[in-house]
Amino acid sequence: MEAALVATRAIHFGASMLVFGELLFVAFVAGSPWRHAAAASTRTGGLDRHAFVFAIGALAASALSGIGWVVLEAMQMAAMPVTEAIANGTVVVVLEKTEFGHVFALRALLWLVLTVSLVALRAEPLSRPRSGVALLVAGAYLAMLAGAGHAAAATDGVVRAVHVGADALHLLAAGGWLGALPPLVYCLMHAPSPEAAARVAGRFSVLGMACVAALIASGIVNSLFLVGSFVALFGTAYGQLLVIKLALFAVMLAIAATNRLQLAPRLAADDGSRRLLARNALFELVGGIAIVAIVGALGTMVPGAHRSPRWPFDFALDFTLADLSSKALGLGIACIVLALAAVALIITGMRRTALQMSIPGCIALVVLAAVSTSIFAVPAFPTTFATSPVPYTVDTVSQGAASFAQDCSGCHGADARGNGPIAATLSKKPANLAEHALHHPEGNLFWWIAHGIAGSPMPSFSPQIGDDGIWKIVQYLVARASAEAATSIGPRVDTASMSRAPDFGYEIAGENQRTLAGERTPALIVLYTLPQSDARLSQLASDHRLMHGKVRVIAIPLPGSHPFAGDATLRAQVGADVSKVYAMFADASDDRASPHAELLVDGSGIVRARWLGIPTNGADRDAAIVAAAQHLPARSSMPASMHHGH
């Protein structure tokens, strides 16, 4: 069924592109030069009839594959066999109720308009206004496919508009290039004179270049949305298929460049180059068909940006300049100087058309690029860019903490500071994870725990501890290091904070359960000890400024404290582990536990500000909290350097 869907999609994309490209060629490329040449010669081109038959054939293929696509989607959406999907009206529900169905219903209408207008135009000679109208309809018919793809599902309106627009442009440009190739071949083979062939080829190359430029620009926008990062390009199946697609595109570009630079100028004089050009155009078409087949598959896959990538190389690049040694910096500067010299050599060679200068220049440039890239190379593992399958919650953190206490604390210490009881006996000092964990990708921490570190006493824990168990230890380390990082966060909003608050659920009487991360709004987590904190909690409950400032207040008793008995809004019920895990976040920088702490956590779960102790003037602190909440960064990103000095 998946294979049928891929094939149907590919045929539908291809056929819809052919219709558009064909009409574009007829209207703007073959147009007047063809007519003049045909009138002046006894050999009539007959492109009209040829173009008509071809367009109708492509339209028929497009209709059949389109119907097949809708039926297959209905089967998949409702999880039922084909007979049932048709018999019980699921196909109709798809057309009536889903966005995909709306797009296809509208396109069916356009298909009808297009077919009728082509039949009406059949007897007419080629004319730009008439075929122009058909062209517009064919363009809309093709471009609307963007409304049925990945782009259309974005939750953000602006993202959706930009992505759908880029997708539509991509489809039109691909159709303009690929769809124009069959009639181009026809024109080249049946041209009434070498001059007519040359003129058609010349005009086609303008169209081709415009399409290539549009393809590249829109392709970059699309891949940024869907692949997300360079990592996903190599680390996921979607990305790898995209790399193959790009390679095919590069080959097609090379053929097109040969046509444009070598064959086209000789067309008028040399009949052999006409045949070569036609043959090359057929090669381009084959490449195009392969690309469309890949597109058929890509649309059914999970895009790279949504999958945990598996990194295929044993190194990755880290462009954090601060981490570069002075030796590497010197090498980098030398590379830049030599690269400039190589570019000068290439340009001089091109000017004098002396290949013996340009080619060594190019080779030098490639070598220099590799050398300079190696400066930024750091060791990487298959899981380096993996995202944890285990969520970052109080539950997973406390389970990870239990494993850590049992298997890791002997060397790394109870607080993960690298000072366990047997640390002194080891050949190499265990890492202070409380300090370092946030500075390494989580995927590397996972790999080191699972497989150990060669040349150090760090053993491997896989398979004694399962993958999920190891990820839980990683989550504990993130929480431990986040608590450590929180000790240097004060009342001023820390825009560079890396301290992440683990998610947890809480219940206020009479309301549904809520979670810290689920609401995506700022929260003030008050860690308290009774009786000292009693007055502060009562004052918080009566101060409505926080509520008006859209800051949720979640009060959590520190271990050993009674729960607050006052205002109901501050009597949130939380699991026992929440107190234990969050107690880490109440430590002062000298490691002394504070009996009262308040954390301002932004909508992405990052600790942005922290107040220790009970304020002498609670109202002043509330004003400061509200002010800080107004200045939280809009979007949080988690920068993680690939490596750093030890």
């Binding site: 974005a154 602006v158 926008v221 999970v302 969520p391 359960q513």
Partner: protein, 122 residues
């Protein structure tokens, strides 16, 4: 030329930063009650937020008790104000373990499904 270069950089930069909430298959982003959590009061409804907009006609969620019997009110629906939220109401539930099963179609036609449990403790 300079201006068009700047435009290209701007578009690329925008696309880069906007790439986080990108589209595709709908995955469960967040649920209330939270996945695997324990609550002390019966929820009025079960709400699931996905990473994408859903097709209401083909997106469903149901809740079963420990014996596997469906106990929700059968009104599984996509939230009218937020097309990426799927919800179903439940009657006042006695303490126990409950399983939430969902199957959704995102607006780009992809099907995803899954399940999770939550517990009600007295």
């Amino acid at each position: 030329m300079k201006r068009s270069c700047a435009a290209v950089v701007l578009v690329a930069a925008f696309a880069w930063f906007a790439s986080a909430p990108a589209a595709a298959h709908a995955f469960l982003d967040h649920a209330v009650p939270a996945v695997g959590s324990t609550v002390h009061e019966s929820p009025q409804d079960i709400r699931l937020r996905f990473t994408e907009q859903l097709e209401p006609a083909f997106s469903h969620v149901q809740v079963a008790d420990a014996s596997g019997k469906e106990i929700d009110k059968g009104d599984s629906h996509v939230d009218a104000s937020n097309a990426s939220v799927l919800a179903v109401s439940v009657p006042a539930l006695p303490p126990g373990k409950y399983r939430v099963q969902w199957r959704v179609v995102s607006v780009d036609t992809h099907v995803t499904e899954g399940d999770f449990t939550f517990e009600i403790e007295p």
